[in-house]
């Protein structure tokens, strides 16, 4: 099983990452029938205000630990073959990808459900915080997640 968990300040290019991950880890594998991916992207509107840019802060040591625990938990719940989990930190602009979750499994149920679980668990447990700089000149911390359902 291939697994990559990465937090980075560089721009996240999800489709290139997915392609590279497959090529370097399981190019000739024939056991996966399902791939599910989720990409979270920064919007330019939040709570009715135009957002110019955002800064993502994290608690590095705890982020690594939490993300690993989340991936371990997903592997216990579903027969996942491969997991790729990437997250941006630092300064982010509208339309920039923030998070990438991709999972591979034999059948679609595990891929869909595992991908969804990883994303929801990340949002609730991984210690990241967003600060928005608004078009109005004001800046503010995002205080809570949008609901997942």
């Amino acid at each position: 099983m291939a697994q990559l968990i990465k937090v980075q300040t560089e721009a996240l290019k999800p489709w290139i990452e997915i392609s590279d991950f497959q090529t370097s880890n399981f190019q000739n594998h024939t056991n996966y029938g399902a791939t599910a991916t989720f990409v979270g992207t920064m919007r330019d509107l939040n709570e009715g205000d135009e957002v110019l840019e955002m800064t993502l802060e994290h608690y590095s040591a705890m982020t690594e630990k939490q993300l690993q625990e989340i991936v371990d938990e997903a592997n216990e719940k579903w027969p996942l073959l491969h997991v790729l989990l990437m997250h941006r930190v630092g300064k982010i602009l509208p339309a920039d990808p923030i998070v990438l979750v991709a999972v591979w499994s034999a059948h679609r149920a595990a891929a869909f459900d595992g991908c969804r679980f990883l994303m929801e668990a990340l949002k609730h447990k991984a210690p990241f915080w967003k600060k928005e700089n608004l078009m109005s000149g004001e800046s503010r911390w995002v205080e809570k997640n949008t609901p997942g359902t």
């Binding site: 994303m119 949002k123 609730h124 967003k130 600060k131």
Partner: protein
């Protein structure tokens, strides 16, 4: 330099801005709990409602035991993804 008697305390996001520091430390002679660590360092500031606590990078409750040498972090609800 940190000795094993020192508890390292970290603050993130809005809590870091509220306090004006990212990190502090306190010397503990005996085991204490997270709430007491906050009060000892920030006697005049109440920990904001909904704040979260981690001890050694794992979520913990305010009454969880803190031992000398631990790393304690206080932060607001997380908003990643």
């Amino acid at each position: 330099m940190l000795t094993m008697q020192t508890v390292k305390v970290l603050y993130f996001a809005s809590l870091r801005e509220l306090l004006g520091v990212a990190e502090s430390s306190i010397d503990l002679k005996d085991a204490s709990d997270a709430a007491s660590v906050w009060k000892a360092i920030n006697p005049s500031i109440d920990l904001p409602d909904a704040s979260l606590v981690a001890i050694n990078q794992s979520y913990a409750s305010l009454d969880a035991v803190v031992q000398p040498g631990d790393e304690v972090a206080f932060f607001p609800p997380v908003t990643g993804g």
